[in-house]
Symmetry: none
Subunit: 401 residues, 2 copies
């Protein structure tokens, strides 16, 4: 296990620049027809050009066999042990929609659901109402008058919403109201510690008022809440690595995660070209860039092998520009695998390449899952990527005398 305190004690600011390119869900599985993965199928001359001067390997975001969500996958790449630094479901839901959470806020994930006339849950998702309907209902619930806290309700998608309790003295350790089954009543929200009494009371009132307001909106006539949580206390990347770090990402979730670890989040567009343009515009102002590409994961989730291949090729195309800028360290990897064949995140290790003048190149000549197997980085926990990038940027002093 890498010790953040150790890294903190030996990291030094310097002008050298690190670019971490995260191709979301990069790793794949071979197509039964060709025996090649998405990355192996893609035509990637620029990645292969970089590989020739780089050191390669495969990362485990959490540990072998564990399929990470987006948050653990990224925290690991930023150097934070994702099991130690876990982020609550409610906070992720709020971050995912770009909600600007404050440190005293408690966030919960909400579902609109259907209850029968006796109050028993008959559909935990209220027939998956439309996002438009969800938005309309959230407006009814937003700002409900509760003594202990200001109530902020925001739509997510379909039946899902986020609710934020804003006020002083709110501890988040209260139980869910969502029993995660049908045929029973929503659970009363209970404080799990004396400090959480105030939030439990606020959440209880919110649920009671929501039930009254939603009475006439069958099938969305009730709410279920779970994952009450506050922003975790993470040491920032500035504190640990002495980096001035910037995030370039178009999706709110990744912008939120970057902000959590103290990066500055830059305004950018939605395409990979937009993101690279943003990097070039801001290149002199930061010494670390996190560049996030979402499309590959979305294609994998959709089971669209060909689209994932295309997106990898688009990244490759843009990479030539990045290479021309000559950052001291370029890392290209993913936060986890999302094989099109599995239509979801998976546990498979993720290809990584690390280029620097000082990287001790291996003999890998193409960027692929199978070629990276024999790479010089071997198979490594993703939490070791940042220390390696820092070392290759000559930003880490000797440990011990």
């Amino acid at each position: 296990m890498i010790n953040l305190e150790l890294i903190k004690s030996i990291s030094n600011p310097s002008p050298s620049k690190i670019v971490l390119v995260v191709i979301d869900g990069l790793g794949g599985l071979p197509s039964p027809e060709t025996g090649k993965t998405e990355l192996e199928t893609a035509n990637t001359p620029n990645l292969n050009r970089l590989v020739a001067k780089a050191i390669c390997g495969l990362t485990d975001p959490v540990s072998p066999g564990i399929t990470p969500g987006s948050a653990p996958g990224h925290l690991a790449l930023f150097g934070y042990d994702p099991v130690t630094f876990s982020i609550g479901r409610g906070v992720l839901e709020a971050i995912g929609i770009g909600f600007d959470l404050q440190s005293r806020d408690v966030a919960a994930r909400g579902n609109f659901c259907t209850v029968d006339e006796t109050g028993l849950i008959i559909d935990r998702r209220a027939g998956r109402i439309s996002t438009e309907k969800c938005t309309e209902l959230c407006q009814l619930l937003d700002g409900l008058g509760i003594d202990e806290a200001k109530i902020l309700v925001r739509p997510v998608r379909e039946h899902r919403f986020a609710v934020v309790f804003r006020g002083e003295g709110l501890a988040s350790d209260v139980g869910d109201s969502d029993p995660q089954q049908i045929g029973v009543a929503p659970k009363p929200i209970t404080a799990l510690s004396p400090e959480a009494g105030r939030l439990a009371s606020a959440a209880h009132q919110f649920v009671a008022q929501a039930k009254t307001v939603l009475f006439e909106y069958y099938p969305a006539n009730m709410v279920l809440l779970r994952g009450f949580s506050k922003l975790p206390h993470l040491p920032t990347m500035g504190e640990i690595y002495k980096l001035k770090a910037a995030a370039i990402a178009s999706y709110p979730m990744y912008r939120g995660l970057a902000k959590l670890v103290g990066m500055e989040v830059l305004d950018t567009g939605t395409s990979i070209e937009d993101e690279l343009a943003t990097l070039k515009q801001n290149y002199t102002n930061y010494d670390f860039f996190f560049l996030h590409i979402k499309g590959s994961d979305a294609a994998g989730e959709d089971g669209d092998f060909a689209r994932k291949v295309t997106i990898i090729e688009q990244v490759d195309n843009v990479l030539s520009e990045l290479i021309n800028i000559e950052p001291d360290v370029i890392v290209v990897t993913g936060d986890h695998s999302t094989p099109a064949l599995l239509k979801g995140h998976s546990w498979h290790p993720v290809p990584i390449l690390l280029y620097s003048k000082w990287c001790r190149p291996d003999r890998v000549s193409e960027f692929s899952e199978s070629a990276c197997l024999s790479g010089g980085l071997g198979r490594l926990p993703a939490t070791q990527v940042m220390p390696l990038a820092m070392a290759n940027a000559l930003k880490l002093a000797k440990f011990g005398a």
Copy 2:
């Protein structure tokens, strides 16, 4: 380090089936004549057929350089850190002879030994008396009348026996009587905590009575006891993995270990064919099978290179039947290495293959120590085998969102 609590929190029951084939002592060392290990010498067409669709690697049961006993080797494969979950010597001795230990029992390993007329030990093994003689003497000691506990004495082999103290309020932290040297008297058994006073008294009385009973049975005229211990508290595989797990093993030690982690132990015969027949008969009733093959380890311990090769070939022969059943996940590995050249367990990492539809196959084309070196699993702690098998059986949910 994999956290069992983490696995527990994301494991789900499902109909998919996992078969873990443990070829005891599988790993070897190359013969000086041929340069090939036992596994590399064996003709294994079925294993190689499986390897073509599988992912391979090498496991460390405890950590590099550490030679595991049978218990740590198996606990690691079942996913339990063998250093955290240690099993006392006495308990292992009792389990090894199929003794049905109860949770309140304290077990100790016993040696018949020889003392001179002044009570000093002159042979810690009583000239390695025969197992028949040991059995006869154990009958004399079994049921000796002690106030604090019922005494159960069972022969193991040659001079070795197991003694179980059964009663209420027996804590096991008492010192050994075996000084592990000759020329001194057996040590008085002392309580290492106030709670252990009752057991210390019982054990003291047992030793005193045994000395009287054995007076006329020179050279086996005294006993030495060590490794007082109780059954450890292990979370079951059902609790951690939500598996309905069955063990198919012909040796008591492995049946006992399987029972310790909550597997159901199936009746089976002594041959590999018997074991596979048992698996087929019970295939619909469980979703996890631990199939243990002992002969390979025994051959290695005997230094019989050729016999170990033959046993590996017998396993390979039976494997075709297992492959035909089409379990979702097949893992073939060992609990440790037992090179015939070393005539004993060793620290060398153990070849592993994991087959599933979702395993991301590597380019390894034969099952051998040297080929597994370049396998896609790399070199991994044996405790990671179960999470990987679970992931490949699609029984693990995503960690974090």
